[in-house]
Symmetry: C2
Subunit: 184 residues, 2 copies
C-alpha cells in the first residue's frame, strides 16, 4: 500500500480515472453527472458524455444541444458540478466548475470530429422540453447551429475514496492544487 497521506498521489489517481473517460467508453468517467441550478433556483442533474479533459488547462468539456435546459440554467448561473462514481477505484470524483458556453465558428473544429450518427443529438424542432401531443411529434435537426460546447473550468476537485478507512480530500485551483484532507 502506498502512503495514505500522499495528496499528490491521490490527485494523480483522480486525474487517471477522469482522463480515462475521454478514451474508454466503458470507464465510469465516460458518463459524468452534470449538476446545475435552474433559473428558479432548483437543483438539476443529468448524465452527459465526457468529451475532453485537460489537466494542464484545468478544464473538461461536454457537448450539448443549444436548446437544452442545461443552457437556460447556465445562462443564469454559470456553475456546474460534474460528479463521477468510479466503482473500480471506489472513488467519487466531484469537479466544481465555472462554465463557458461556446457555439458557431469557435467550435467548428469539434463539429468536424462529431460522427454523422452522433450529429442527431444537436438541434430539435420544437426545442427539447417542449410539450408535444404524441411521443414522437418532433424532428431532430442534426444541426451545427445548435451544436454547443461547454468548457468547464475546474475550481476545485473533491475526491472521496470508499476503501476502509475512507479518505477524502479537496484540491483547489486557487491553491495550486496542493490539496487538503477532509473528514469523509
Amino acid at each position: 500500500m502506498n502512503d495514505p497521506n500522499d495528496l499528490a498521489a491521490f490527485l494523480e489517481l483522480g486525474w487517471q480515472r477522469l482522463t480515462r473517460g475521454v478514451v474508454d467508453r466503458r470507464s465510469a468517467a465516460r458518463h459524468p453527472v452534470f449538476a446545475t441550478v435552474s433559473p428558479l433556483g432548483l437543483p438539476e442533474a443529468r448524465t452527459v458524455v465526457l468529451r475532453a479533459a485537460s489537466r494542464g488547462d484545468g478544464t473538461v468539456e461536454v457537448h450539448t444541444d443549444g436548446g437544452s435546459d442545461k443552457i437556460s440554467s447556465l445562462k443564469v448561473n454559470p456553475r456546474a458540478q460534474l460528479m463521477i462514481w468510479d466503482e473500480t477505484a471506489k472513488l467519487q470524483i466531484r469537479l466544481s466548475t465555472s462554465v463557458t458556453i461556446k457555439q458557431g465558428a469557435e467550435v467548428s473544429d469539434r463539429w468536424q470530429n462529431v460522427p454523422d450518427g452522433s450529429r442527431m443529438a444537436y438541434g430539435a424542432s420544437p426545442k427539447p422540453g417542449t410539450p408535444i401531443p404524441e411521443s414522437y411529434a418532433y424532428t431532430k435537426l442534426a444541426s451545427r447551429d445548435w451544436f454547443t460546447v461547454l468548457v468547464c473550468h475546474i475550481e476545485s476537485i473533491e475526491l472521496m475514496q470508499l476503501i476502509d478507512p475512507h479518505r477524502r480530500a479537496v484540491f483547489k485551483a486557487s491553491e495550486a492544487w496542493k490539496g487538503e484532507w477532509r473528514v469523509p
Copy 2:
C-alpha cells in the same frame, strides 16, 4: 412493441425500475444521484443509496449523516433532484422533490433496521468536511443521534428513454400523474 404513446405504461416502467433499487443491490436505482443547491447557490451532486420508494405516498427515502453537506444545503433550500441512469432500460429517471429532514425518535424504527456494520456511516468527529492534518485523523461515531432520514416528496417525475426514437415525458403530482410528452 407496446403503444409508444401509452403514458401510463411509461410511468409504470419508471416505477418498476425505481422500486427495484430498494430490493436489488445490483440495480441502477440502488444508487441515485442526489442533487442539491448549496447555501452559496452552487450545484452539488453525490451518490446515495435508495432506502425506500412508495408510489402510493409519492415518496422516496435516503439515509444520511446529520453532519453532511446535504443537510446544510437542504436547511436553506429543501429541494433535491434524484437522478438515475438505468442502462438496462436505457432510461433516465429524474425525480424533482421537496425534502423533509427527520431525526431522533421519529426515525427510531429505521435505525433498528440499520445493520451494525452500516451504522458507521452516521456521525463523525470532527464533522464530515472538516479539514484535517492527515487522511485518517477522524473517528466514526456510529451514532443514532446523527442518523438522519431524508423523506423526498416527489413533485414531478421526468422519464427519458434513449431507445430510438427517443421518448421523454413529465408526470406531475399536481396533475394526478397523468403525464405529458416532451421533446427529448
